[in-house]
């Protein structure tokens, strides 16, 4: 399909924050993003012309922020609201291999929803992982370097080379990926075998390093994962915040060429994927 016909739902509820820059990322590439309040998908308090269905979109994105305040585990409230009514359409959406992207709070939401890690099911009835409080026990906004470790499954990183290092900044209080303790090794092995690990935090030399290079203490330095199909992807850092080079924190050191930022490839990859696949 043509890029301009790709409808992207930027899903939001109260407390969703990063929707404008997420919208801009798709818009700049020529796709057709739209802010969609969850109530429009649930058909609550809507006029006729405001009603939306998931089937109208080729990509669903859950942006960052503090959905509903995140006063309980991050993403849990947003996930519960989606799950109560939209589980079936969402499952169909993923089964049809339409891509779903969750960034920061969106990653937390997809995890709470049971869409991620998605090792052998599309949507698990209870969450199989969680994004726990950072080891530093505080919210931190800092640049992070991510090494792309996916071998080709993830549809959001097809335009990235393996082992490439990208600067994509983080800003969160709860980004430490954890699995149930007794299943930790098993899950990690499965994720690796299934090619579900997409990004790991590294230092400028590409080494796995401790804090602050890994800003949250995430298990095995994992920054982003996809499901077993490769079309549901969640990451803590914000690629929409390094879409252009001038958004990089150190651009006055490194210069403004090329003008693309390190996060742009996430969006070009998925747009390319959709236009080829559908």
């Amino acid at each position: 399909m043509k890029t301009k016909d790709i409808n992207v739902a930027i899903l939001r509820i109260e407390g969703t924050n990063c929707e404008q820059e997420s919208y801009d990322a798709f818009k700049r590439l020529g796709a057709n993003p739209e802010f969609v309040h969850l109530k429009q998908l649930l058909h609550i308090d809507c006029d006729k012309n405001e009603i939306r269905d998931l089937s109208q979109y080729q990509c669903l994105m859950v942006p960052g922020g503090f959905s509903a305040g995140d006063y309980i585990r991050a993403g849990a409230i947003f996930a519960a609201r989606i799950k109560s009514k939209l589980q079936t359409p969402l499952k169909n959406f993923v089964e049809q291999e339409y891509p779903v992207l969750g960034i920061c709070n969106g990653f937390q939401v997809l995890t709470e929803l049971g869409l991620l890690p998605g090792i052998d099911t599309i949507i698990s009835p209870i969450p199989d992982a969680c994004l726990n409080i950072n080891d530093s026990n505080r919210y931190e906004c800092r640049p992070t370097l991510l090494k792309h470790e996916n071998k080709g499954k993830c549809v959001f990183t097809k335009n990235l080379k393996k082992n490439e290092i990208r600067l994509i900044p983080s800003a969160h209080a709860e980004g430490k990926l954890m699995f149930p303790l007794e299943k930790q090794n098993e899950y990690l092995k499965k994720l690796e075998n299934n090619d579900q690990i997409v990004f790991r935090y590294v230092d400028p030399d590409g080494n796995y390093a401790g804090y602050p290079w890994n800003p949250n203490g995430s298990m095995s330095n994992i920054a982003g994962i996809c499901n077993h199909i490769g079309n549901v992807f969640g990451m803590m850092p914000h690629p929409e915040r390094s879409f252009y080079r001038y958004q990089h924190p150190d651009w006055t050191q490194t210069g403004l060429s090329p003008s693309e930022g390190d996060g742009q490839a996430i969006f070009t990859s998925v747009v390319d994927y959709i236009s080829k696949r559908f």
């Binding site: 109260e14 990063c18 919210y139 931190e140 906004c141 958004q247 150190d250 006055t252 050191q253």
Partner: protein, 786 residues
Amino acid sequence: MSIDHLLKKKKLSFDLYEIDVFSANDSELQELSSTLGLALALDEMKRIKEYFQKKKRLPTDVELQALGQAWSEHCCYKSSKIPLKQYIFGVAEKKIAAREDAGVIEFDKDYYYCVKLESHNHPSAIEPYGGAATGIGGVVRDVVCMGSQPIAFVDPLFFGPLDYPVDKLPKGVKHPRYLFKGVVDGIRDYGNRIGIPTISGQVYFHPGYLGNCLVNVGCIGILKKNELVHSAAKAPGNVYVYVGGKTGRDGIHGVTFASAELTDESEESSRSAVQVGDPITKEPVIHATLEINRKGLLEGLKDFGGGGLSCVCGELAYAAGFGAEIHLDNVPLKEEGLKPWEVWVSESQERMMLMVDPKNVPQVLHICKQWDVFAAPIGSVIKDEVVRVFYKGERILEMDLEFLTGGPVYDTCIRPYVLPKPEHVEKNEKSFSMPKLGESLQKILSSANIASKEWVIRQYDHEVRGNTVIKPLQGKMNNESHGDAAVIKPLENSWKGLAVTADVNPRFMAINPYWGSCAAMDEMCRNLVAVGARPDSLLDCLNFGNPEKPERMGEIYETCRGLGEMARALDLPFASGNVSLYNESFVSSVPPTPELMGIGIVQDIRNCVTTDFKKEGNMVYLIGNETKKELGGSEYYHLMNVDGGLVPRSDVSLLKTCIDGVLSAIDKKYIAACHDVSEGGIAVCLSEMAIGGNLGANIDITEVGADLRTDFKLFSESNTRWVAEVKSEKQMDFEKLLIKKHAPFICIGKTKGLSLIITDNKKTVIDMTIPSLRDCWAHTIWNTMG
């Protein structure tokens, strides 16, 4: 003395009192004012008595409470009006497109930027988390209510010393560490949750803030010119639509509480004056309000600030020469049993008042409903300049707006003042022998006021919205140092940027309010210029002690004189301002603190410059003013326990010349890094540039301040100076350009290696590796705050 006999309960299904001011004598009037928490002076109570005598009826408690709010110091600038009028008002006013709850100034041909800076000092001293959070909540509403999308926060904070001995803490005073943590937590949890980046600020520690911390909050917004909305009704019949949070008992008498000194009992007596913030109610309120405005459904808009419903309803009508009729029954409540006067003056957060044409009301309510934001029509604008309030069918308030909202005019009531005599202090400068300079630099770098503020900055999301193109921390990843200003690129299709900084030096101010104010203006300009921005406007938040004390009033006069003279000479408009008085407790008074927030325009953000050294072999220059023996209030004298000394002077014509020189050199891309010289002098300036770039320099200061002693050369805080790293291949062009621009400069060295080496007259006076500089500078606040 009991005044119970003056309170006459009316026979109604709810609590309403008539207050018998007619039979009250003077002392009973004063007692009424204090018992009812009105904070009105006797003269004002008498004026109220006269008004109702003419009306031939007794006032209700609701009416007295409304007057208490409307007339309080906070709302009508009783004490500061004269000095403000004399010095501040009328500077470069042409540039200001609108000045209501926030100031509005042209950004480009299609857009305005909108700015506001205010204080939330007293609430934060009592309840730091809630006080700071609701400070953010308040300032963002001010920017939204002009119709603008908020794009950045600025948070200058002032506390007592972090290492103040706990056992010496006076009763009722909270430890600076507790306040600092609470305030930062509050700003973080509120600012991050509503998705607006906090990009700039200031953190300062001084014993004067022990009993009264200062929490100033600034906000910037951007709006299309045709989306500007005013805080006024358009026509009779306009409907008051109440939008947002419910009304509760929190934040009652916030305004009157801000207009009195804090005591050791403030904790108990004033807790109810601190509001409760709810960012997740606020965030959709902002969305809904801006959407309603974009769709052209608004006649007027105002946020609920000090004085609650009472002020917002009155002011919207008064500004347009109309009146209002309001029905309290429709106001949503947090709890049962609120008395009507409580509903009328409560300062509960997250509320906006929309003025809507009746035909648009259904659409407005629909948009709010979609965002799950409460909205209800509660009254309408009427032709007569009267405000009438009804509850359960009963008229509980009726006053002329001219009397209620117009407020008393105080120009004739001049507070006495005594001008400070800083000459005595400045002359009293004891001499001392030069210490080991390496050790002095280490101590200064690790002092709380100089040390890295990363602990604070990283807890704020400074990048959300994706427009922060120059960050508050600058340099190589995980080696960053402080920047001078942050820059936002607010529009998708324009390279134009807005630079923001916040400054004042309280130690200068404590010694010499006039020159201290000039220095604050000078530093504000330097910071903006250092990133490549031309200063465009400023905001002042004037934080002072008790204005009833003539010395404090004198400080206010001298501060306003300094700010006004500098602004006039620089042609910089005061986009908006705020006065916060009574920042004085039984422990201490704050040093005069005119916090300045400077806004600069960057024509093309791709030309911006940061403070970190970039490349080995580049030349290092000191641009601007001569380095003088001006160390009064400096970090170095503080370290050496020297009280006197000259506070740095500012020469505004030199400043203007240098601004032009530095900006044209940045525009021509001659400059790779630029940092203003302020606290800690060139020694600290160079250290920060080296830390951020992870690159050292060989510096020779022989020519700096020619005859000065080495320590004064290193640590003098003389104004109007920048250190610039100039690209080696552009050295000649750079020098030619600055000569042409008449901006003085000295070449002081080269970037080189991994150490900062400074020599004076061929003698090495500083030789420190970058890791050791970073080690001194990076950890102080982390180690104290954890």
